[in-house]
């Protein structure tokens, strides 16, 4: 805490010259209450904020139905100013399918974690992608079950220590991680597939662009759009909060590689030129 000496002292001996006033509450777009109970250093609120801002920037708030899975991010399912349907762990893509088929004019977005989407409900997103379901699926991938306190999921990378892989994930005992974005990209019904991260401002900017592109893909009816976002989980990784962004890049990020894996709209544009 060497910065403390540089913080200016506010004199409190005299009453303030003007009454307190709200300058800005810094609550992000489409978030009802600025507070959340997620751990310090968690990447999920950053990703959700980016998603909300993308919806807001594209003026889609009044068409959006978000379908939430179960994980730490579920804290936001009753904290957003878009309509939300809470789904069970693993089941958001089928629930979103029912919504979209009955409300084809709405923008339907699912939010799930890696435990939810890859461990519990892997077949749901694969079938939805194969169907070319016109929905956007967002997967917050931190490689652990954060909500239960740091247990191994289907995306946990080799060597990663979790409460159920104490000596590190070992392929002989625990198998190997599923690289979901790569799997989804191979299905013909998927129109946009990207993997991004929120561990730096640059990565976050790329995440934001991917989320916008995913929503554009849905609006164009160009198939299922899928954005996997690597998020920090210092609590579940058992690392210092400030260490988490670097840990993400060196561990999760070196296996689940960021990039745009598929962009049907761009391919169509290129073909038109």
């Amino acid at each position: 805490m060497s910065d403390r000496s540089r913080i200016p002292l506010v004199p409190t001996g005299t009453p303030p010259s003007q009454p307190a006033r709200l300058v800005d509450d810094f609550t992000p777009a489409l978030v009802d209450v600025g507070a959340h109970h997620l751990c310090p250093g968690c990447g999920e609120p950053i990703a959700i904020r980016s998603l909300g801002e993308a919806i807001d920037e594209m003026a889609l708030a009044q068409r959006t139905i978000a379908v939430f899975g179960i994980g730490c991010y579920t804290a936001f399912s009753n904290n957003l100013d878009v309509e939300v349907l809470q789904a069970l762990h693993g089941r958001a893509p089928s629930v979103a399918t029912g919504v979209k088929r009955c409300r084809p004019d709405s923008l339907v977005v699912t939010v799930q974690g890696d435990g939810d989407m890859v461990s519990e409900g892997l077949q749901e997103v694969l079938h939805a992608a194969a169907r070319g379901e016109s929905i956007t699926c967002v997967m917050l991938n931190n490689g652990v079950f954060g909500e239960t306190g740091g247990h191994m999921t289907a995306t946990t990378v080799l060597g990663q220590r979790t409460k159920t892989s104490l000596e590190g994930r070992d392929p002989a005992t625990h198998g190997r991680p599923i690289l979901l974005a790569d799997l989804v990209a191979r299905l013909d019904g998927a129109g946009f597939v990207a993997r991004c991260a929120v561990n730096s401002a640059g990565e976050l900017a790329r995440t934001h662009r991917a989320l916008r592109r995913a929503l554009e893909t849905q609006l164009a009816g160009a198939g299922l759009s899928f954005v996997e976002i690597l998020t920090m989980c210092p609590t579940g990784w058992f690392v210092e909060t400030t260490e988490a962004p670097r840990y993400l890049a060196e561990n999760l990020g070196s296996v689940h590689r960021a990039g745009v894996l598929k962009d049907v709209l761009a391919e169509t544009d290129a073909a038109m030129r």
């Binding site: 708030a61 139905i65 009753n78 957003l80 309509e83 939300v84 069970l88 629930v95 077949q123 749901e124």
Partner: protein
């Protein structure tokens, strides 16, 4: 834009000879059902086939889901948009759906669920539910295709009025028996507005809608859900629903019956025929057939039991409704089980036991043992 806006029904007026599955599908469409999802399984399969045929012609959607888990998920999403929706399967498929069925109930969504069961071993599953938490479904058990046409339509009405899943429990015979039926839409009166339904339109208003099994309201001044408050509200709702829906049963000859036989669904038709034939021979027997399994017509069964010396239960299982009959009778009369599991080699629920002379014999055994 939405599937909800579509017009009435595909059915033409008048009586038509329809297989049970088709009649049930027609009744669902007549009741306003515009979304159906299912996964094939005998004897439910033909209901799915018929819905796949009919729903697109009225602007609805039928999904051949990739599993029962996805079928119930899709129906959940559709129901949340305010679209009258249904799903179904056979008992085994319903087992897969139980987690969602429990949470859909706690999310206060209307949904109709069909169980075209194999025999009657799913009574406990239907009436108690295999899911978690405090929830109940209304359960209707038609005796034949004609009654199913009415009960299926009533199920959609009850589901909307109570914002609760309603289960229709049928079997192989119901699905595969052809009958001349008249599918005229039944008017059950007004339904509450679907002001809870999601369309996306309230986004950005500061009061965007939320449909969640964790809580019905957003926390105005904090984060997270208050589960204790929500579950208590759901329990109050369940109690009001179970009190608000009148229990229903068909009965015959109970006024002076020494032996009252209780049966539901298809076996109820065999018991009715057996009792009538025994009455023709001067044997003082009667029958009670619960139509609503939840709420169970306990008062009707109890009243019949008070006048009888024995109550007999006939089911095609090892004795499940037997529990509810005992609870209804509460020792007023001895309760005997005269059913049992009966299946042919197919395992689909065709029961060699379902034969009027066999049912007569079992009832006469009880009459003979009477003190």
């Amino acid at each position: 834009m939405s599937a909800i806006a579509a017009p009435a029904t595909t059915s033409v007026p008048g009586r038509h000879l329809l297989q049970g599955s088709e009649a049930i599908a027609e009744a669902m469409v007549a009741a306003g059902c515009r979304f159906f999802a299912g996964y094939p399984m005998t004897p439910f399969t033909e209901v799915l086939e018929e819905m796949a045929k009919k729903l697109p012609t009225v602007g609805g959607v039928c999904m051949n889901a990739e599993s029962e888990l996805e079928a119930i998920g899709m129906a959940w999403g559709a129901a949340a948009t305010g679209t009258p929706s249904a799903t179904g399967s056979t008992g085994q498929g319903l087992s897969l759906m139980q987690e969602s069925l429990a949470e859909i109930t706690l999310a206060r969504l209307p949904l109709v669920v069909l169980n075209m069961a194999r025999a009657q071993g799913d009574y406990w599953q239907a009436t108690r539910g295999g899911g978690h938490g405090d929830y109940r479904h209304l359960v209707l058990a038609p005796v034949d295709v004609t009654e199913a046409v009415e009960l299926v339509q009533r199920a959609f009405h009850l589901a909307e009025v109570w914002r609760n899943p309603v289960l229709v429990l049928g079997d192989y015979y119901l699905a595969h028996t052809a009958r001349a039926v008249d599918i005229t839409p039944v008017d059950y009166g007004p339904r509450p507005p679907r002001d809870w339904a999601l369309s996306g339109a309230t986004g950005g208003s500061g009061a965007a809608k939320l449909v969640s099994f964790l809580g019905s309201a957003k926390q105005g001044d904090g984060v997270g859900y208050d589960l204790a408050v929500h579950y208590a509200a759901c329990a109050d709702h369940t109690e009001a629903m179970l009190r608000g829906v009148p229990p229903e049963a068909e009965e015959g000859y109970v006024e002076d019956a020494d032996v009252v036989v209780v049966a539901f669904g298809t076996p109820g038709a065999y018991v009715r025929a057996a009792v009538r034939s025994l009455r023709a021979d001067g044997v003082r027997v009667g029958w009670v057939r619960p139509v609503t399994l939840v709420p169970f017509p306990s008062d009707i069964v109890a009243a019949a039991a008070r006048r009888a010396s024995v109550v007999a239960v006939f089911e095609n299982n090892a004795g499940q409704m037997l529990d509810d009959v005992r609870l209804a009778v509460l020792g007023e009369a001895p309760v005997e089980f005269i059913g049992g599991l009966s299946l042919d080699a197919s395992g689909f629920g065709i029961a060699p036991m379902l034969d009027v002379s066999e049912v007569r014999r079992r009832i006469l055994d009880v009459v003979g043992r009477r003190p």
